[in-house]
């Protein structure tokens, strides 16, 4: 009798093992995840059916790579993880498909829904929110005045926090990091939707001069060699050489790894005039299996997954349920980004920094005056606006 039971059990197990599983080609997922995020993704998709074939694209070249790939429709991926600034160009060119209604109806946070939309249509689903915030060690006493209400207070606090062997502020020599300074001086980057250059006022030169002066005074830490910015700023932050770091959630894993207290050792505050962004999941029009791709997108943006990633990576959820269950660091970041404003929602916005970043670098290096540098940027943006208008 017992033998029969065992045999029946074994047959049942075998039958369970042979239960039909979702077959078919793997979902091709092209993403720009950071190493820690990619590791989390690998764990999430391990053993998944259908399988996921993930391809990591370097963030700096991903927009160009995806643009060329989707244009040729050759080796088209099924799912994309893109920066929110890339969506307008892809949407304008008809390269992405809208999510299915069930997914679109998910309780997305307004900030995420806004950045995943173009021309009033939801064309992607937000995976995480980001933007520039102020990061400082949770155990250190905040400088005064704190939190800064505007750029002037931030500069004053950074200057006060600057001591021998410690810089008050850390940021990257990049056009994106200039945005708060531009906004602090009443200007902004070019807005393709309105056809304005944004930097044609005196405030832009003042903002650039302001930034260059902070570098010259040592309030801002000297820029590291290109390509090693993330590791350098994480190490400097861990050593206590930076009182305040201007960065975003993408930097949290490296900062947590370099520091002794992990994610819990980071205190987040709002950066006046900060840009806000998001990372989106989009399905290209040329995708071979869009349904499966949206299914994967739904899993990656499920509230439970977002909460887990918030605890592990500090990623800011884009769903109400995900935010409710998120780690304190993620909620603090979300709160800090509440007052932040997105970059102009236009296909040209992402390309603006191709010209703004070299200008910032030239001024910080002392190769150009703010006026000279901004002249070149204006010319470039004028060309871009004209080309966009055509």
């Amino acid at each position: 009798m017992q033998v029969r039971i065992w045999i029946a059990g074994a047959l049942a197990l075998a039958a369970c093992d042979r239960a039909p599983r979702a077959e078919g080609p793997p979902v091709r997922f092209a993403h720009t995840l950071a190493p820690a995020e990619a590791a989390a993704l690998d764990e999430l998709i391990a053993g998944r059916a259908p399988a996921v074939e993930a391809t990591l694209l370097p963030f700096s070249r991903a927009e160009a790579v995806l643009g060329a790939t989707l244009a040729s429709a050759d080796d088209c991926p099924d799912l994309l993880r893109i920066d929110a600034t890339w969506l307008p160009a892809l949407a304008a060119a008809g390269r992405v498909s809208p999510p299915p209604p069930a997914l679109a109806a998910r309780a997305w946070l307004p900030a995420g829904r806004e950045l995943a939309s173009w021309d009033g249509r939801l064309l992607a689903v937000p995976m995480s929110l980001d933007g520039l915030v102020l990061i400082r060690p949770a155990t250190a006493a905040p400088p005064t005045p704190w939190p800064p209400a505007d750029l002037a207070q931030l500069e004053a606090a950074a200057a006060a926090a600057t001591t021998a062997g410690r810089h008050g502020l850390g940021l990257r020599v990049d056009g994106y990091w200039l945005v708060p300074f531009l906004r602090g001086h009443g200007v902004d980057v070019a807005d393709g939707t309105r056809g304005t250059l944004g930097i044609d006022g005196a405030g832009a030169e003042a903002a650039l001069a302001d930034l260059a002066a902070l570098f010259a005074r040592g309030v801002i830490a000297p820029p590291p060699a290109p390509g090693a910015e993330a590791e350098h700023e994480a190490a400097a932050f861990a050593r206590g050489e930076l009182a305040i770091l201007i960065s975003g959630p993408w930097a949290y894993p490296a900062l947590a790894t370099a520091g002794a207290d992990g994610l819990g050792g980071l205190a987040i505050d709002a950066l006046p005039g900060a840009p806000r962004g998001a990372q989106l999941l989009a399905v290209p029009s040329c995708a071979r299996a869009p349904e499966r791709a949206w299914e994967l997108a739904g899993e990656l943006t499920a509230p439970a997954t977002q909460a887990a990633w918030s605890r592990r990576l500090g990623a800011v959820p884009t769903t109400e349920d995900g935010l409710a269950a998120a780690a304190p660091l993620a909620r603090a970041t979300y709160a800090a980004l509440a007052a932040a404003r997105p970059l102009p929602r236009h296909p040209l916005s992402a390309a603006l920094f191709d010209d703004l970043s070299p200008a910032v670098a030239a001024v910080v290096a002392g190769d150009a005056t703010p006026a000279e540098a901004l002249d070149g940027v204006r010319r470039a943006w004028t060309r871009a606006l004209a080309a966009g208008a055509r």
Partner: protein, 588 residues
């Protein structure tokens, strides 16, 4: 047969001892050779394609840096791409000519303004992205034409202020890649192929891989274009080692790859040769092991066989000394020990024979004592009546001589009986723990034997007065000395007899009884102490005196021996341990 099987077993063991490590090493060599050599082959191939790839990277990097420097120099002070003057236009033309001349891999350089309008060097090649969102420049996808393979190198020309003034588009002639591959020293059957980010062959040493054809779908190519920086695959009897080219990256973000393939037969030719050599060496080693094993077995078992033969002889009673059997190590030791053992067996046999003889002598003694006891009374009667009858007869009576003869013979028979009784007492008396001063006993013996000495016209000199006390019973010592001196009187009538002593090592002394008679022949010395053995004429002595001496001496734990006296004659030496002086009251 057993000995032969031993030799065979030794050969077997030695062969096995050689076979096991040979097989183990051989198996290990076989198992490891493939893995080790595969690793080495892959490592060697990787080193080769790293070197090749580094050369290709360096070439492109040099070209890229040169163009970047030229672009930066050209744009440094400019605000606009358009030539400011004829002089400026000619300067730009010279710059392009210099690039074309100094950088051989550059086929053509075109300068366009940020909108793509040509500035110098001709029109913009078709399909070239000017580098928007490419952060400064890139290497494009390869293009193939009848003139060969080319790749665009796009470099943004920004002024010192960071402003984009123009774009340099250099057309790189990929002929240098093919030249580099042709110059590579490849192994037998190996080919090297460079593919661009789309899997299109840029250059190859494989004639079947035409330039411009797609190798997409080839496992090695697909893997090479994947995320891994380098690696290898082994499939369909072909080994493929690949590596990305760091400086080459298509618009799609995929780096070019260099792939080296080689049939496994050629790649592991060394492994096959090594395996064959290993097998040959193993067979030779085994054969040598067998030969050496047979030789060693014969050498080892030969002395063993001799030992067995010798053991058989010993078992059959041949304990006569023979030269020890020689052999290596323990075998030699065993041979020597067997000879020692044979010697001891012989000694034991002799001892057992002596013991048997001793038992027989003891039995004789007991029997003699009983006979003597029974005979002694009748003899006393015979002697008494013979004496009475002889006294009654006048001196000239015819019977008197006969009666005196009867009395004499009876007297001699009583002496014999007394000797037998003395021997029997010596056999049966227990040990008496005693110590005695030899000097006192010597004086007593001299007094006792004085009449016999005078009768024999001999002289007796006893010099034992200063001798130390010895561990000997007094009565026994007296008997011993009486018997020895009497023996000397019989052996050397009219001679000089001395009784003396001398110290010996180990707390012993020697009591010597010497005469100047004919001595004891060496051949007789071993049995002179046996009962009824005598060298004297018939009617002289009973043949029991020295036997009694040996029994008394042996029982006292001393020793008796006979040799030649210093002055000729015989010397009986009693070797005895000294002892504390015995008080006079306890002396016999």
């Amino acid at each position: 047969m057993r000995r032969r099987s031993l030799a065979l077993r030794v050969i077997g063991v030695l062969t096995l001892a050689a076979l096991i490590p040979t097989l183990a090493i051989g198996t290990l060599a076989f198992a490891r050779t493939r893995a080790d050599l595969e690793r080495e082959v892959v490592r060697g191939h990787l080193a080769l394609i790293r070197a090749l790839g580094a050369g290709l990277d360096a070439t492109l990097q040099d070209a890229r840096r040169t163009v970047e420097i030229a672009a930066a120099t050209w744009a440094d002070t400019r605000v606009d791409a358009a030539p400011a003057s004829e002089l400026d236009r000619r300067a730009t033309e010279r710059l392009l000519a210099r690039l074309d001349r100094d950088v051989p891999v550059i086929a053509r350089v075109t300068i366009v303004d940020p909108t793509g309008a040509p500035v110098a060097g001709g029109a913009l090649p078709p399909g070239v992205d000017l580098g928007a969102r490419s952060f400064g420049g890139y290497v494009g996808d390869a293009a193939f034409s009848a003139e060969g393979a080319h790749v665009p190198l796009v470099v943004q020309a920004r002024s010192r202020t960071g402003a984009l003034v123009g774009v340099f588009v250099a057309e790189i002639d990929l002929g240098f890649v093919a030249e580099a591959l042709r110059g590579a020293r490849l192994g037998a059957g190996a080919t090297v192929t460079v593919v661009d980010g789309r899997g299109t062959v840029v250059a190859s040493t494989d004639r079947r891989a035409a330039v411009g054809t797609s190798r997409k779908g080839d496992v090695a190519i697909d893997r090479a274009l994947g995320a891994a920086a380098e690696g290898h695959t082994s499939r369909a009897d072909e080994l493929a080692v690949f590596r990305n080219l760091a400086s080459y990256q298509s618009l799609r973000g995929v780096r070019w790859a260099i792939v080296l393939t080689q049939p496994e037969r050629d790649a592991y030719a060394v492994a096959a040769a090594t395996r064959r050599l290993t097998l040959l060496v193993a067979v030779i080693a085994l054969a040598l092991a067998l030969a050496v094993g047979a030789f060693l077995a014969a050498r080892l078992t030969r002395p063993l066989a001799a030992l067995a033969t010798r053991a058989d002889a010993i078992a059959h009673g041949d304990t006569a000394p023979t030269p020890p059997i020689r052999g290596p190590g323990e075998v030699g030791v065993l041979g020597a020990r067997i000879e020692e053992m044979a010697g001891r067996i012989g000694e034991r046999a002799e001892l057992q024979a002596a013991l048997a003889r001793g038992d027989r002598l003891a039995s004789v003694g007991v029997m003699a004592a009983q006979v003597a006891h029974e005979i002694n009374n009748p003899l006393t009667t015979v002697l008494g009546y013979a004496a009475l009858l002889a006294e009654d007869k006048p001196a000239d009576h015819a019977d008197r001589a006969g009666l005196e003869l009867i009395a004499d013979e009876a007297t001699r028979m009583k002496a014999i009986v007394a000797g037998l009784l003395g021997y029997a007492r010596a056999e049966t008396d227990g040990d008496r723990a005693a110590a005695v001063a030899p000097g006192e006993i010597g004086r007593l013996v001299a007094a006792l034997l004085a009449p016999a000495v005078r009768k024999a016209k001999a002289s007796l000199t006893v010099t034992l007065d200063d001798a130390p006390a010895i561990a000997f019973d007094g009565h026994a010592l007296q008997q011993v000395l009486v018997n020895l001196v009497t023996n000397a009187l019989h052996a050397a009538p009219g001679g000089a007899i001395t009784v003396s002593w001398g110290p010996l090592p180990g707390g012993r002394i020697a009591l010597d009884v010497c005469d100047d008679g004919p001595g004891v022949p060496p051949a007789e010395r071993a049995r002179v102490f046996d009962p009824f053995v005598t060298t004297k004429p018939a009617g002289v002595g009973t043949g029991l005196g020295l036997a009694v001496v040996r029994h008394l001496v042996t029982r006292a734990g001393a020793a008796i021996a006979v040799d030649d006296a210093p002055a000729g004659g015989a010397r009986f030496r009693l070797t005895v341990a000294t002892a504390p002086v015995v008080p006079p009251a306890e002396a016999p």
